[in-house]
């Protein structure tokens, strides 16, 4: 948590900025500690531990705006830092769209505890952290003669932020996270290839972190890759597992940002209230879900978050518009970015989705690729499995999927039920029709 001393420093910085030329200002002071222990072949490979802190000062000076950050928090240095920052800001062009939010939009407190901070954080002993990582590695090491490398890691961090704005906002957040990961590399017989894979869990609370089976699952995921090869190019039904489905949603969400809309650099431009995707795509922002990564009562500008339908049966219901872009677009701000994205869940996990596909490809990994933000045209490298008669068959790799985001999401056929709790985007495994795969 941010100490009272640090909060007073932020308040002092605000007063100093306002006395020295800022008409408005926002101050954020942040800090955190982290540790990690990496194991390789049952030996500690790396250990790291540190604490850090810093301050960001956002200056609104004579209709101009700039932002300055530093981890040098002595008052004497901050005075010169802020004064010179204000002087620099005056040389920028005037930009009337740069304002703090209307105070009526601010979060004013009163919400129930979102339970994002583990009070046990400081009590977990380093030896216990190492033992957990060792246990994951032990689940891998020596379990298959083809294993080249068994790795695991434990990492944790706690971070906190305190934000104040000169027109009356004050807010604070604190989050903890723990993660446990296993990684495996194996030698493919008759080849130089060394397939690798991993598995992990992460949690806000130490007690709910999954501690067993991580290494075993990582080994299973690696062994099943043996014998990967390309298959024939063509249109296939595509199942994307829950480790990769969010990445296909990411360009769609990016296209909803106010900055993309205002710059005319979005394939979602002028699509509000239109049906742009399959009726199977409903997406809601649920920011107040307790004990979930991404939960928050206010965004990076202090604006109160609320439940927000994003897509309803394929119809686009909102953009993510911050104050700056709202002013430029002459509209009201919504919220700057997504918090927790949820979809109505189906009744099948990834195996269930595969079971209803006679011929298709199950994608379990994306390898590079990109999406054109203006047009939605995308192309990504993929690996996974050919699906034959409802079952994963030949492992495939070195293939691409190519298409357009609007077409892809219009071809969404079914959503699964297997979201990952460790992600703030609760996107399950998904089934798409008619996806172009390039291979042989």
């Amino acid at each position: 948590m941010i100490t009272n001393e640090k909060k007073k420093l932020a308040q002092w910085a605000m007063e100093f900025a306002l006395k020295n030329g800022c008409q408005a200002s926002r101050i954020i002071i942040y800090g955190g500690t982290n540790s990690s222990f990496e194991i390789r072949d049952m030996k500690i490979d790396r250990l790291t531990q540190a604490s850090e802190s810093g301050m960001t000062i956002q200056c609104f000076v004579d209709g101009r705006y700039a932002s300055f950050s530093t981890n040098r928090l002595e008052k004497e240095e901050l005075e010169k830092f802020i004064a010179d920052g204000i002087a620099s800001t005056r040389y920028l062009a005037e930009d009337k769209a740069r304002t703090l939010p209307d105070p009526s939009l601010y979060y004013r407190g009163g919400g129930a505890d979102l339970q994002l901070l583990d009070q046990r954080f400081d009590s977990i002993r380093p030896d216990d952290k190492i033992a957990l990582a060792m246990q994951v590695c032990d689940e891998i090491m020596g379990k298959d003669s083809r294993i080249l490398s068994s790795t695991s890691s434990y990492s944790d961090q706690v971070s906190s932020r305190y934000m104040i704005a000169s027109n009356g906002f004050e807010g604070e957040t604190a989050n903890s996270s723990y993660s446990l990961l296993g990684g495996v590399s194996i030698k493919e017989e008759g080849s130089e290839a060394r397939p690798e894979s991993y598995w992990y869990d992460s949690s806000i609370f130490y007690d709910t972190l999954i501690k067993k089976g991580i290494g075993t699952k990582a080994l299973e995921r690696t062994i099943r890759k043996l014998g990967q090869k390309k298959t024939t190019s063509g249109k296939y039904r595509m199942v994307v597992d829950n480790m990769n489905s969010s990445r296909l949603l990411s360009p769609v969400i990016n296209a909803l940002y106010g900055s993309s809309i205002q710059q005319n650099n979005s394939f979602m431009l002028n699509k509000l209230s239109q049906k742009v995707a399959s009726h199977k795509l409903s997406l809601t922002d649920e920011p107040h879900t307790p004990q979930s990564p991404g939960a928050r009562y206010f965004d990076s500008e202090g604006i109160a978050t609320r439940r927000l339908p994003v897509f309803e049966e394929g119809v686009l219901r909102t953009y993510y518009i911050d104050v700056y872009n709202a002013n430029k677009l002459d509209t009201a701000p919504t919220i700057g970015s997504p918090s927790i994205l949820t979809m109505p869940l189906g009744d099948k996990d990834v195996d269930g989705l595969v079971s209803i596909v006679e011929k298709g490809i199950l994608v379990t990994g994306l390898n590079g690729g990109n999406c054109n933000s203006s047009t939605g045209d995308f192309s990504y490298g993929v690996e996974g499995f050919l699906i034959e008669n409802g079952k994963p068959a030949q492992p495939v790799s070195e293939m691409n999927i190519t298409g357009n985001m609007l077409t892809l999401w219009s071809n969404l056929a079914e959503a699964g039920k297997d979201t990952r709790r460790s992600s703030s985007w609760k996107i399950p495994s998904l089934l798409f029709d008619d996806v172009d795969f390039s291979g042989l």
């Binding site: 920052g85 005037e94 690798e196 990967q228 390039s438 042989l440």
Partner: protein, 510 residues
């Protein structure tokens, strides 16, 4: 718009950040940038540490029996100014200050860092890092001796902290105005200028001490155009390890024209039919092929752990005997150059493929010790918050002896890849990808229809062996290439002559 040193120095206004965190620093910066002999003394004064402090911290780092320790001090300041909607209306700055302690015990690493550089905090960090070791014998640090920078690959004429923000903004306005003037279809321009200055001070338990002054400059523009209701965007940028002399009329004009050309072609471009086909890599940015297909897999941490697809191929033939591939930290002003790496090893030019033979991996201190050889100077880190690991610098293929026209004329049906945005590789499987922003179809030996937005995927050893022609038109791409690995970002570059890869899998429609 002409700039010269006198204009830059005569600022008389706000200089953004840099001199702000340490009022006594500015004079020292200028001296240090131009006179490396005073580097260590300057750095010790700046970071407020004495030789006695350093020895005490090194001793604490080794008190559990570690066999090596180093201390990495950094003071970096980054500035950015940006133009949007026709006006330079946004600026940001960031100061990062701190030091990291690394302890090695065999190939194991302990690491801790602090943002407050006091003897007490440093010793606390050293004792945290020391826990990696559990040996009986304690190594005593030797006397510290300055290792001077012999070759400075990025000497600075005009330090960024000597010029004011109002001297930075005109180039952005000019880029904006030129882009709009060059094509009536332009709707929006975003342009930005970034500069970073890093003061690096390093010492280790072998007795080596050095100071390095690292500048970085980037200038880029995004162009958004509309034609018949269709919108496209593309990007042009340049990055060098230079001071403010980086900003010239030429670079501004080059970026403006390139941004327009790269956006304009997209309106005529289509997605090709996907599948396996020959790919001609155009000169310059095609070096991304080397970076992804072999560069990462040649990084020696992956090879000493035996998890790279190239782990068993050192000193073996991996491609045509006329092919030479280099990873170079010594190119003047190159974004990937290093005077001394973050392991304390001088910058070098390293042949990784020589006459078709895999000649060297890319080593840091740990892997060099593992293989019993001298480090190639590839130990790099993002900041004092990270430990050094093997990273590329400027990776390129040397020129061959045929023309690009000859290469294209040898392809009946394939594609020509011209510009790229990003890539990725799976180190063990060897599958690599790169995203082609624009290029052309090759039909009957000639460039025909423009293409765009496709991913190309291949396998490292196969793709290297499938390079059948190398052009005489070597070109370095000095864009804003940034490489990610183990959660660390690192500035790099890549280059290549035009080359023919006989078979890669091209994304596209079926």
């Amino acid at each position: 718009m002409k700039y010269n040193r006198r204009d830059f120095v005569k600022t008389g206004g706000a200089v953004m950040l840099g001199s702000l965190a340490a009022p006594s620093f500015l004079d020292g910066v200028v001296n240090a940038a131009n006179d490396k002999a005073t580097g260590v003394a300057f750095a010790m004064n700046h970071f407020r540490v004495s030789e006695g402090d350093l020895k005490k911290v090194l001793a604490a780092a080794l008190e559990k029996g570690g066999d090596y320790a180093d201390l990495f001090f950094e003071h970096s300041y980054q500035n950015s100014v940006a133009l949007q909607d026709g006006a330079v209306n946004r600026a940001s700055s960031y100061i990062d200050f701190g030091m990291g302690v690394r302890v090695l015990s065999g190939d194991q690493t302990g690491y801790a860092y602090v943002e407050s550089i006091t003897p007490e905090e440093m010793i606390k960090a050293a004792r945290t890092a020391a826990r990696i070791a559990d040996a009986g014998q304690v190594k005593t640090p030797v006397n510290l001796t300055e290792s001077r920078v012999v070759n400075n690959y990025y000497s600075v004429k005009t330090p960024w902290d000597s010029i004011s923000i109002q001297k930075k903004t005109p180039c952005l306005q000019t880029i904006n105005d030129r882009i709009f003037a060059l094509d009536s279809r332009v709707m929006k321009v975003n342009a930005s200028l970034g500069d970073t200055t890093s003061h690096i001070f390093f010492c280790n338990s072998d007795g080596v001490m050095y100071y390095d002054y690292r500048p970085m400059a980037t200038l880029g523009a995004v162009c958004i155009m509309q034609e018949n209701g269709k919108i496209e965007n593309s990007y042009a940028a340049r990055a060098y390890r230079m001071g403010a002399e980086f900003i010239t009329d030429d670079i501004v004009e080059t970026i403006a024209r390139e941004a327009v050309d790269k956006t304009s072609i997209l309106f005529r471009a289509v997605k090709p039919k996907g599948g396996e086909m020959p790919v001609v890599m155009g000169a310059g940015g095609s070096g991304i092929l080397l970076h992804e297909a072999i560069g990462h897999a040649f990084e020696a941490d992956f090879n000493r752990k035996n998890i790279s697809i190239f782990s068993d191929l050192l000193n073996k033939k991996v491609c045509d005997e006329h092919i030479n591939v280099v990873d170079d930290g010594t190119i003047p002003f190159n974004r990937g150059s290093v005077n001394i790496d973050d392991d304390g090893v001088e910058g070098q030019k390293t042949y990784i493929v020589k006459d078709g033979i895999l000649a060297s991996y890319l080593h840091d201190r740990i892997s060099a010790k593992h293989y019993g050889i001298r480090s190639t100077g590839n130990g790099r880190r993002e900041s004092f918050r990270m430990m050094p690991i093997p990273r590329m610098r400027a990776t390129y293929m040397e020129a061959g002896n045929v023309t690009e026209e000859d290469i294209i004329s040898n392809v009946k049906n394939g594609i020509y890849a011209a510009n790229f945005t990003n890539g990725q590789v799976q180190i063990g499987a060897g599958d690599f990808t790169f995203f082609v922003k624009d290029g052309y179809l090759i039909e009957n030996g000639k460039l025909t229809q423009p293409i765009k937005d496709i991913n190309i995927i291949g396998n490292g050893p196969k793709a290297l062996a499938d390079i059948t022609m190398v052009g005489n038109n070597y070109q370095m791409d000095n864009g804003t290439w940034t490489c990610g690995k183990d959660g660390q970002s690192c500035p790099v570059t890549c280059g290549m002559p035009s080359a023919l890869v006989s078979k890669l899998t091209v994304g596209g429609e079926s």
